[in-house]
Symmetry: C2
DNA sequence: GAATTATTTAACAATATTGTTAATGACTTT
DNA sequence: AAAGTCATTAACAATATTGTTAAATAATTC
């Protein structure tokens, strides 16, 4: 490629390196670590695969760079969830909604993460160090909030851990199973009938509303 | 191996072929199609990998045999679900429970199926022909049942498709996320802390109870 | 513009994987 | 036990994949 000198006079950005990163993110998210070959990434970036080894030493190094990038975005997304002050249900609903929406903004992240943990757990060890403190904080915040509300008798008896599992499971599997469903229902030779933007938005809105309704009935529904 | 002649005098069973099938099922379920190498299967079966090609022509042929075997078991498991005569909630609860329990009896099936559909959708085309009529029948049965009950006003307003999605999602992801959680929470060098039989049984019983409680509150819970 | 440095390429190496084949050994039938 | 069939092995072939390297090209610095 070429030296992509910027207007501001500071150090220039190598657009080959950026092209590789972009291609790598795309391919890793789509295929998972094992099926994402360096040759395919190079092809998508429009360079020879030797370039990947020139800029990043190994396939694993590129992967880690990509992972770190996505994780930064993940943490960014979750920050506003923890702002306090609102009543219990509003806060919880906001939490569910934010969690749901994060995956809408990163539709391949659920499958990618799942695939990596399943097939390359060794790559997740470093990931854990980044992600665990954040997860722990969010988790503790919600568990405490639910327990407090339950003790006051304003919501039904429920194991807070199970409720969190319900929410995470329902939100995650929406995006975990969406591409699976897409592939499952396509016909033999035909390409997957990817729903258009508007349709997909509608599907996701309905799904989110149903998940919130489920949790609301679980917490507030009285059975005669 | 050896010719494993049986007592009943009929044609003998080749135990090499059976060993390969058993090993293949184990390895495919654990690793998925792409990461399950013929060499590894052969090693686990205690034979050279040329044997796989002798008994089954290709890797894909073995895979199909394994898939067919599991699918037969799947259909078997779902048969009793459809027996009618009981009241609505008892039938639905039995359906949820059966669905949940199938994955308990085939704990790797969810991840395996997911992996196959994600990374080898072409292998699922044949699968679809076997599995779809069965799924369709179960699906129609439950949709009809829910719609009827809702029209009579005995349960809350709900989109029957969303309710089915809730149940499938909650049941499936219990087993989809269980091995992921296992790997997620293990420490760097240590092996995964697989919970012992009794503990696992307790976890699963609690989870099933919570899922049933969720659906019950969704259908019967009244919000003032 | 000469020297130096950075980028890119093509060819090679090493390994893994699926599949084939020719030779060998074992078992069955008559 | 001779002939034929079945089971097994070891070696080979073909391809794919990750990674290296020496040489060529482009950019930068002095």
């Amino acid at each position: 490629m070429f030296q992509d000198t910027q207007d501001n006079g500071t150090a220039s950005v190598k657009s080959t390196e950026q092209a590789i990163m972009d291609a790598a993110e795309e391919v890793f998210l789509e295929k998972g670590y094992n099926l994402a070959t360096t040759t395919l990434i190079a092809k998508k970036a429009g360079v020879t695969h030797a370039m990947l080894h020139y800029y990043f030493r190994t396939k694993e190094h590129i992967f880690m760079k990509v992972l770190e990038k996505i994780l930064r975005e993940l943490m960014q997304s979750f920050r506003p969830v923890m702002s306090k002050g609102e009543p219990f249900w509003e806060t919880l609903e906001k939490g569910i909604s934010t969690h749901f929406d994060f995956f809408a903004g990163h539709p391949r992240f659920a499958t990618f993460l799942y695939d990596t943990i399943m097939h390359n757990p060794e790559l997740v060890v470093r990931l854990k160090e980044n992600i665990f403190p954040v997860l722990q904080k969010i988790y503790d915040f919600h568990i405490g909030m639910i327990r407090e509300e339950m003790d006051s008798g304003r919501i039904n008896e429920v194991d807070p851990m199970q409720l969190i599992a319900d929410i995470v499971t329902l939100n995650l599997s929406t995006y975990l199973l969406l591409p699976v469903a897409g592939r499952m229902f396509q016909n033999a030779g035909n390409p997957a009938p990817v729903p258009d933007e508007t349709t997909l938005k509608g599907i996701l809105e309905n799904r989110k509303a149903e998940i919130i309704a489920l949790i609301r009935h679980r917490l507030y529904g009285k059975i005669q």
